[in-house]
Symmetry: C2
Amino acid sequence: VRSVVIVGTGLIGASVGLALKAAGFAGSIAGWDASATELSAALRLGAIDEALQDRDAVLSSKADITVLATPVLPILDWIQRLASTRGVGQLLTDVGSTKREIAALAGKLYGGEGQASFLPGHPMAGKESGGAALAEATLFHGATWLFTPLHPVTPIEAEWRAMVTGFGAHIRDIDPEQHDVVCAWVSHLPQMVSTAMSALLEETFAAEPEMQAAVQAIGGRALREMTRLGASPYSMWRDVALTNTEPVATTLLALEQRLQHMRENLRTPELREEFAAANTFRKQGLGIRD
Amino acid sequence: VRSVVIVGTGLIGASVGLALKAAGFAGSIAGWDASATELSAALRLGAIDEALQDRDAVLSSKADITVLATPVLPILDWIQRLASTRGVGQLLTDVGSTKREIAALAGKLYGGEGQASFLPGHPMAGKESGGAALAEATLFHGATWLFTPLHPVTPIEAEWRAMVTGFGAHIRDIDPEQHDVVCAWVSHLPQMVSTAMSALLEETFAAEPEMQAAVQAIGGRALREMTRLGASPYSMWRDVALTNTEPVATTLLALEQRLQHMRENLRTPELREEFAAANTFRKQGLGIRD
């Protein structure tokens, strides 16, 4: 692999560039972003060597590997537009948060005779705020990097997997439908709850200056953690909601019902069962711990 | 102040003992706990100098200050039982998570002529797991310690306030009703949501070994943070639910409605409004940040 082009040089895209360099990649890294600010920030950080001037430059790029690091809807657009411009021996990969629609579309357009290969991917890393300015070479260190392969591994795909391992990430292959269902539970639901709680608190206290001071003085780690993801950008999550609607709706409805059950049982021993199951989740069971 | 007795030597009670010593308190510290394990752990840690043998020893103690550090219902019991055993010049204070019922009861039994004084308190510090073994002298450092005073400050109450400041805590006086409403939003709601989410995930994945592996591999910081309080003990939260039922139910219902609204708008521009309000909460507005 001698050349990589990164489409979308925000937090994840720019971090990929920095991680490539930190891992000793000696080839060229070009980048493009719809935002001139993000693009120049990535260039300034050294995440990319060259800023492409427009979409046509992405299409005409001869890069060995094209990394799609935009939100999901633009990824779907790029998958379509790039298909006729890439060929055998080249790889497209992405870092999109949902995989079912991406895998379905890419499966139709790539991996066949005379076609480039495509490896859908999803690094389980990020921050609640986006942007190239927050990019880090170590962002993927210790993180799981999921792939939902469409076809048998090609040589260039094997190279990309090795590069990702070089970022310090742990690779795991998963079925795209299972990916989207599990991510709805462990990522999209927490995001929606954190957004809902932040929006609710904002609305409840915005017009209450005296209460605000109390909220600020009293709110501790629990409040900060439960609302941290409230800072996440709509631009990215809109596409998650649009491309994983049913699984996310299922988890939201289940939580609504669970909260209602707790609310109706604040004064009954049923509440004990909820705490017991929650304790099991954290201490045994799935063993999710800090 | 030459003597303190701590009733309930779990996480908070034992941390009070350690903080007193770290701040140079040279008097004696006795302790009692319904659990012999907690009591001997507190003694072993040096959080207390002497383990009282039974409830009668608490009642007959001549300590200048009695710190009630049990869950709220036992605090209410102790407030009742201790009233006839303490007198002018002595102070009772507590660290209970709700204040309306405690302040109401204590207001009837303390602070009058010939009576001991009572200062309801609530340090905004803790951990998701309880127990003396996790106690720390620095637990209250930088934390807000709320008081809901019942009567004009007495000399011994002023001494306790100074001691709490010596723990590194910031003192703030607040009305007990406002305390319970604000705590419902910033502490009790996050707790109930974290418990509900943990219990839901446990139930959803307990019988799905293959999915469990995926949940463990994929779940990241968002999942860990949003379920961290799932480890919290029922024993403490039962009393919060019982003594702050209406405010907690109000916040739960509001969040249920908000989640339903998001669920029904996953594919509409309404979702943008939710993210915008949430962004404001974290970045401007109340300015809750990490």
